[in-house]
Amino acid sequence: MTYLGDVAALARKDLLLELRSRDTVPAMVLFVVAALVVFNFSLPAGSGTLAAYGLLWVAIVFTALLGLMRAFLAEREQRILDGLVLTPADRSAIWAAKGLAVLAFLLLAELVALPAFALFFEPVGAELVAGVLLADLGLAAVGTLLAAMAAASRARELLLPLLFLPLVIPVVVGGVGASVAADPARYLGFLGLYDLVFAILSWASFEYVVTE
């Protein structure tokens, strides 16, 4: 099989699993809507429109975190990761497939979250959508690698936010900039740079995280 064939087969497995069990996506959707409602009450009157855009990015990062926490759950419970590593496929294909699945779940959650944000708070412009799409790539790429690390540790769910949040601060900066700045192109460019750098790094180093 080709590399892309491996990735497609593995990603199909994850998507099929989610389609049958419906474990992750409904939880992410419910979480992000609930978070937006909480934000409505956490913003004091007169805090302005910019604060809402800032909080949207908090919601997106934490929703991604929620999806990532479950990303390797099936592999861990059924001890499948060792089997996957033993297959003749390139190990980075496991990362790419899992990243694609995480990305798909995140996009589905945002398909609900962005209209909800537009309904509850502020209008959603093209720059914001572009920023969200670029940020999703980075969140999924970095998050999948860190989720694999966290899955190998004893702390698991506790460890992932600690590893994930400092690393995605640049994503938040780029995303907030893309949503509120007068010149969003700089921030979108920065998000693209982040995606490129960390996707390459994660792709190259995933093999070491899952093997001995």
Partner: protein
């Protein structure tokens, strides 16, 4: 694996660090003239900046050792990388403390989000603190060594990316109120003093590194012996 308690390299480095740091402090207090704007308090520059640069050097060293581990699979690099991160976090915490003191004396506040270096060090401090969580919550073995090495590599990539992010965020969220201008026209006396202080701090980090590495190796050897006996 060397587990000898007597370590001549550490002794030489420690003596050198003591001499250089004393000389650097003496130069900073008695030789360098007062800075034109900041006056006497600008002298914390000779502690703060060398400590910050040493922290970067430690993180860079950790990533280099991590890269060596991944390419050679030689397990001794794992402890070396770990020790370097350990030292980096100590010097990073010192950078935060000295930077905070400088902010207090210069601007009257303990913390300012418009100070790029301080914000960067806060992010790095959080990031590398999680490194310890990762290590402590994973069973010792080649996989933990690999994961630690990958994490250390992510750290050195995060440094420039975060720096860029902070610069971008500054224009957006935090207006630049303060302008420090310490790097403008460093006089010869300032440059020499700074060089001596930097060399002293690096030697101190080196001495601590060698010392800590010996200790960690002993710990590991002891654990292996215990396991062999059990």
């Amino acid at each position: 694996m060397s587990t000898s308690l007597r370590n001549n390299g550490a002794v030489v480095l420690a003596a050198g660090a003591a001499a250089l740091l004393l000389a650097g402090l003496a130069l900073a207090f008695y030789w360098v003239p007062n800075a034109p704007v900041e006056g006497f308090r600008q002298r914390i520059f000779y502690v703060h900046v060398p400590v910050a640069l040493t922290a970067y050097a430690c993180f860079g060293w950790a990533a280099w050792k991590g890269l060596r581990l991944l390419s050679t699979r030689d397990r001794r690099y794992d402890l070396e990388s770990y020790t370097a991160v350990h030292m980096g976090v100590i010097f990073g915490a010192l950078t935060l403390v000295t930077g905070s003191i400088w902010a207090r004396t210069s601007w009257g506040v303990w913390w300012s989000w418009s100070e790029r270096q301080l914000v960067l060090f806060l992010i790095l401090f959080l990031f590398y603190s999680a490194y310890f969580m990762l290590r402590y919550s994973t069973d010792p073995g080649p996989r933990r060594a690999n994961m630690s090495a990958v994490y250390a590599l992510f750290g050195v990539v995060l440094i420039p990316v975060s720096f860029l992010a902070i610069r971008l965020a500054e224009g957006l969220i935090h207006p630049v109120v303060f302008d420090r201008n310490v790097d403008e026209n460093l006089a010869a006396s300032q440059l020499v003093t700074f060089g001596v202080c930097l060399a002293g701090t690096l030697a101190l980090a080196g001495a601590l590194y060698v010392n800590e590495l010996t200790g960690k190796r002993l710990d590991e050897r002891l654990r292996e012996l215990r396991e062999a006996l059990a």
